[in-house]
């Protein structure tokens, strides 16, 4: 009897945490054919923290984010945003897709891409007025791209493209920022600029979650970490979770090929 009582209490406490969490997923499973890309993933983001999702190639990191945002349909699982269903809380989430997922020869300018972040607010026919443009320019300035506003997006370097995507997310003025590999293939200056913006968001009380590849920078950049390999191997504050043992469990034999600085790994 006592044991069930304790279990009930624990479960209730977990439920309270989930209700308060900016983004909580439970039992999320996505499969391509009969092979699960992610299997029964539970994840509860901490408000006002930066969380890294880390794992080997094919671990389902991007899939997890996409399924959490309903970009791909999960086979099973529920998602809640601040305790409410996703459908009612879309405007509180900004998503930055992988840079390589779009055609950069698309006929559009930098400023137009950032204005896309205001489309929900503008609606179908609302006119883009001076304040909207000023807001978009402000977002470009925050990522150091204000001089590129009228360039065609194909003329940008990879790092600049990534910054424009971030500016579009900023324009949404969301509470949760979900980024899919924001540092993939970007130059050092861009990485610095992006991490500064993300830390600024966190310090303003926003919640940030990003798929991240460079294990060496995890402790520098992030507060929390989720180690994923189809299932969640470990999740929590970097100091407790980002350990040699957990990494070994997530990466298996492949850890030797991953660049890990032993000093950056706790314990």
């Amino acid at each position: 009897m006592t044991i069930t009582l304790v279990n009930d209490a624990l479960r209730a406490a977990a439920e309270v945490t989930r209700q308060a969490s900016p983004l909580a997923v439970r039992g999320l499973t996505v499969s391509y054919g009969q092979t699960p890309a992610i299997f029964s993933v539970d994840l509860t983001l901490r408000a006002g923290a930066m969380t890294a999702i880390v794992g080997p190639n094919g671990a389902g990191k991007s899939t997890l984010l996409k399924a959490a945002l309903d970009v791909i349909k999960p086979l099973a699982g529920t998602v809640s945003v601040f305790g409410q269903p996703l459908a009612q809380t879309r405007d509180r989430i900004a998503y930055v897709p992988q840079r390589a997922s779009v055609d950069w020869d698309f006929p559009t300018r930098v400023i137009d891409v950032v204005l896309m972040g205001l489309y929900r607010q503008l609606g179908l026919l609302g006119r883009v007025r001076a304040p909207h443009r000023a807001q978009a320019m402000d977002c470009l300035a925050r990522v150091g791209m204000e001089d590129f506003a009228t360039r065609q997006i194909g003329q940008l370097s990879g790092g600049q493209q990534q910054r424009v995507f971030l500016a579009r997310a900023l324009a949404q003025g969301a509470d949760i920022y979900v980024l899919d590999e924001p540092f993939a293939g970007v130059d050092a200056a861009t990485e610095k600029a992006i991490i500064a913006v993300l830390k600024g968001l966190r310090d303003a009380g926003k919640t940030v979650v990003a798929v991240h590849h460079d294990l060496a920078t995890v402790p520098d950049y992030f507060d929390d970490v989720v180690l994923l390999n189809t299932q969640v191997i470990a999740a929590g504050p970097v100091a407790q979770v980002f350990t040699e043992d957990n990494l070994q469990a997530a990466y298996g034999g492949r850890l030797t090929t991953a660049r890990v600085d032993p000093e950056s790994v706790a314990g």
């Binding site: 998503y95 897709p97 559009t108 179908l124 150091g144």
Partner: protein
Amino acid sequence: MLTDALLLQLGYNATLVTLGAALLGMAAGVAGTFLFLRKRALVSDAISHATLPGVGLAFILMVALGGDGRALPGLLLGAGLSAAVGLLCVQWLTTRTRLGEDAAIGAVLSVFFGLGVVILTVIQTMNAGRQAGLEGFLLGSTAGMLRADAILLAVSAALVLALVLLLRRPLALAAFDPAYTQATGWSLGRIDLAMMGIVLVVTVVGLKVVGLILIVALLIVPAVTARFWTDRTDHVVLIAGAVGGLSGYVGAASSAVAPALPTGPIIVLVGFALFLMSLLLSPGRGVLASVLAHRRYQRRVHMRQGLLALAQGQPIFEALTQRLMQRAGLVRRDGVATAQGQAAASKALRDETRWSIVRADSSFAVAATRYDGLTPIEDVLTPDQLAEVDARIAAPQVVL
């Protein structure tokens, strides 16, 4: 005669049909832009070929019910229904089987078209079928169009234009970044459905004018033509509308002069002429501009390499480099540098030295991204920064 037709001097009906075709061309150009940007251009080919069985069956049904088999609204209704079935088949094959969209399009297009041809052949053997004129749906024929038909054309085209205006933002968003669209809470499925619905209307209404074989050209050619002239989505849409409108106008007017000529091919040829002109002559993306820009760039690279070779006292091997430098008066015919050449060479070398300092120093990281081997460093750094760089050239820093 053609001038008369182009100036709308051939009577009320011909004028109405010409204006209707122009409006249809605009609608097709505008709607087709989003199809092109979404990279689903060929789906419209499947849709248009899938109209044929519907046309034939509608004819048979109307005759069987004792009506006039040639009534355009009835034929178009049949065309629309069978095109919708074809579209659903493409969607189903693409999403529910392992077939790719290209294979699905090929399968649906050929099967529906084959079925349509069989039905038309059957109709030829019917008594009422002899003068049906249904073959006009293959290549388009505006001859003999009634006033009511022209009005139907114009109203539908106007409806399409209004719908695209209303939905331009989600349509553009879905074409550029489908994942973001979905994540932001728009329904990608519904946006695509709306786009296909719009394309379906254009196709069905355009059947009589352009014909089902060539309607894909009226949807796609204006968009690819417009893409040569601008880097902005809204401008592509407007230019594509203009190109489509002009094609439809000229095509229908020519058809009024020479009723034996099928309208569709003329419309397509006008569009093609505009496309060809854009391909060759457009300032940004045109073939001519690309060739010129490439040659200009090549010359700058050769000049730069030549100057650096001079500065370092190395011989210049490439004939193009020698020729360019002689022409610019930088070297004499025997390959010895002129005074002007000496000055330019040492300037180039100093530039490179300055750049190498800038690129090695992380505090200049932003400026370093501007390095392309050609840009003068004065364009990138302030005089103060330059002075700092020069100080380091004069006195190499000692690393601790």
